[in-house]
Amino acid sequence: MLSIRDLRVEFAMRRGVLTAIDGVSFDIGRGEVLGVVGESGAGKSVTGAAIIGLVDPPGRVADGEIRLGGERIDGLSEDEMRAVRGRRIGMIFQDPLTSLNPLFSVGDQLVETMRSHLDLTAGEARRRALALLVEVGIPAAEERIGAYPHEFSGGMRQRVVIALALCAEPELVIADEPTTALDVSVQAQILALIKRLCRDRGTAVMLVTHDMGVVANTADRVAVMYAGRLAEIGPVSDLIDQPLHPYAVGLMGAIPSLDQDARRLVQIPGTMPRLSAIPGGCAFHPRCPQAFERCAARRPPLVAKDGRTVACHLYDGSAEAAR
């Protein structure tokens, strides 16, 4: 459904060009949920913005290709892109209040979005809007359809945003931290809703989050990003039980879990590098407990290993060669 190859996003700054995304490739199939995880500055959100063509200047997609349903969508004009956004790609952002227009009722916003993308009469659009609100679980939808965003609670607002993202029946939904602003009990409801609706419609989902727990319970596959690059990508259960990349190993160990009695958490020394100072070779090597000479010298390619793809010299045969 979505296919990204060697994506590269650059920001031309006064002091030089910063590379925010460097050689990222992945695919998402129909009805599949891909979780994209990483810490702040890993490039998760920029990847999402690049797909929908919303990287703000001075940033630009410098290289690579993005295909949706086999068709290239990078390099489209602003007008062509606008027809893709909302119609073929739906978006759910962290803060539901900023993604809804406070001056229009939720019904009007749904109707307007549907009519601008689909060939519907006002009456048909209204009926579909109502059906959608019922489907996303707004109680008494018939009365609430005329209500304004501020009259809804945070969880209900996020449901409206989901309805808005799905109203034109997109092929792909990009959900950027959709539940970070919500309480846990509401978060569980929203995640279940996204999962169910997308599975029923065969919509592909790119779920961007910093919360491994959310990914573990929602995604089919996970991509771990570090300093704008892919570290590892694979099925969720493999990656969580037995991560290969040392960064993924550290990340899993750092998360406190509900059913363990660890006295100390695994600590990854140091912090994520700044974009202006990404180390040469493997970006993770200064913090990596298993780094060897080659890691500082050469950037590891993405190689297949145990059903996953991982970018680490430990798995591309060079570790044995060095010994």
């Binding site: 509401v186 573990a216 990340l251 100390r264 600590q267």
Partner: protein, 330 residues
């Protein structure tokens, strides 16, 4: 030092006046309106223990923290620190002594440090305010010692907060808490603004410092895994009341209150992969107009008549009619 617990809350409540302005109220003929943020909370924290307080937004966790450090007086009930009440008029001198021994670490390390002060001045402030050092050299030595304790460099003292990352700022906040030799540190969501790998560093640091100085922590968080990892005992709050309290491991392994069960079912955790999606209905009601009886009854699967009329008391660590009656029957 005596045998009393480090912190003791007995029947503490706190109300906030949320009425509209006087004129608007008089014109519309409305009465004053109050929001009960915390209602009848009783618990004690032992020395050198980590006490965790969990709950969703609006459950009153932060209000409890603010009352413990004395930033807010309780409307009813008493907060005692080392057996001395913070609100007794007669104990001003004692209060001054205790003031030094309680410190707070806030959620947002970007907002809780003065951006115009150098790190040295930020950390030295409690030392100077409580007169804990005799000379400037002594203050400087102490700042050095504190910086190395929290894993920062001596040279960092001349820098400003904006030059640090979120995790480093939280380290500065912890150093400041230790500067007055505080024994009780109230941490309100100390790692919520941090990335997981940085969170692990800060939680490990808090553990190490506790072992070293026998610190008592009151840890407040909405992240159940963090609280589970850190706390010896845990209290779960819902709409201003404690609904369950107990030893951390027991509470997580066999939760008794339906709300605790719901909360544990809802948390996405790496260890709960593949679990069927929990069916949870509803959201937290408004604290201005809470439901009568047990505040949780509209969302509770076990609710019966009595829950709608009577507020359940906290007996044997749990406040739930259904659990109580089951225990009596058994």
């Amino acid at each position: 030092m005596n045998g009393s617990p480090a912190v003791e809350l007995s029947g503490v409540s706190r109300e906030f006046d949320v009425s509209r302005p006087w004129l608007a109220r008089v014109v519309a003929g409305e009465p004053r309106r109050y929001l009960t943020a915390v209602k009848d909370v009783t618990f004690a924290i032992e020395r050198a223990e980590t006490f965790g307080l969990v709950g969703e937004s609006g459950s009153g966790k932060t209000t409890v923290a603010r009352m413990v450090v004395g930033l807010l007086p309780p409307s009813e009930g008493r907060v005692r620190i080392d057996g001395v009440s913070l609100t007794d008029p007669g104990s001003a001198a004692a209060r001054q002594r205790f003031r030094r021994r309680i410190h707070m670490v806030f959620q947002d390390p970007y907002a809780s440090l003065n951006p115009r002060w150098r790190i040295e001045r930020i950390i030295a402030e409690p030392i100077r305010a409580f007169g804990l050092a005799r000379s400037n050299e002594e203050v400087a030595d102490r700042v050095d010692e504190l910086l190395s304790l929290v894993g920062l460099h001596s040279g960092d003292r001349f820098r400003f907060p904006h030059e640090f990352s979120g995790g480093q700022r939280q380290r500065v906040a912890i150093a400041r808490a230790l500067a007055s030799s505080a024994e009780l540190i109230v941490c309100d969501e100390p790692t919520s603004a941090l990335d997981v790998s940085v969170q692990a560093q800060i939680l490990n640091l808090m553990r190490d410092l506790q072992d070293r100085f026998e610190l008592t922590y009151l840890l407040i968080s909405h992240d159940l895994a963090v609280v589970r990892h850190m706390a010896d005992r845990i209290a779960v709050m819902y709409l201003g009341r404690v609904v369950e309290i107990g030893d951390g491991r027991t509470l997580f392994q066999s939760p008794r209150h339906p709300y605790t069960r719901l909360l544990l079912n809802a948390v996405p955790d790496v260890s709960t992969r593949g679990r069927p999606d929990a069916e949870i209905a509803g959201e937290i009601p408004s604290p201005i107009d809470p439901p009568p009886g047990c505040a949780f009854h509209p969302r509770c699967p076990l609710a019966f008549d009595r829950c709608r009329r009577e507020v359940p008391a906290l007996l044997d660590g749990v406040a739930c009619h259904a659990v109580h009656e089951e225990t009596v029957a058994a």
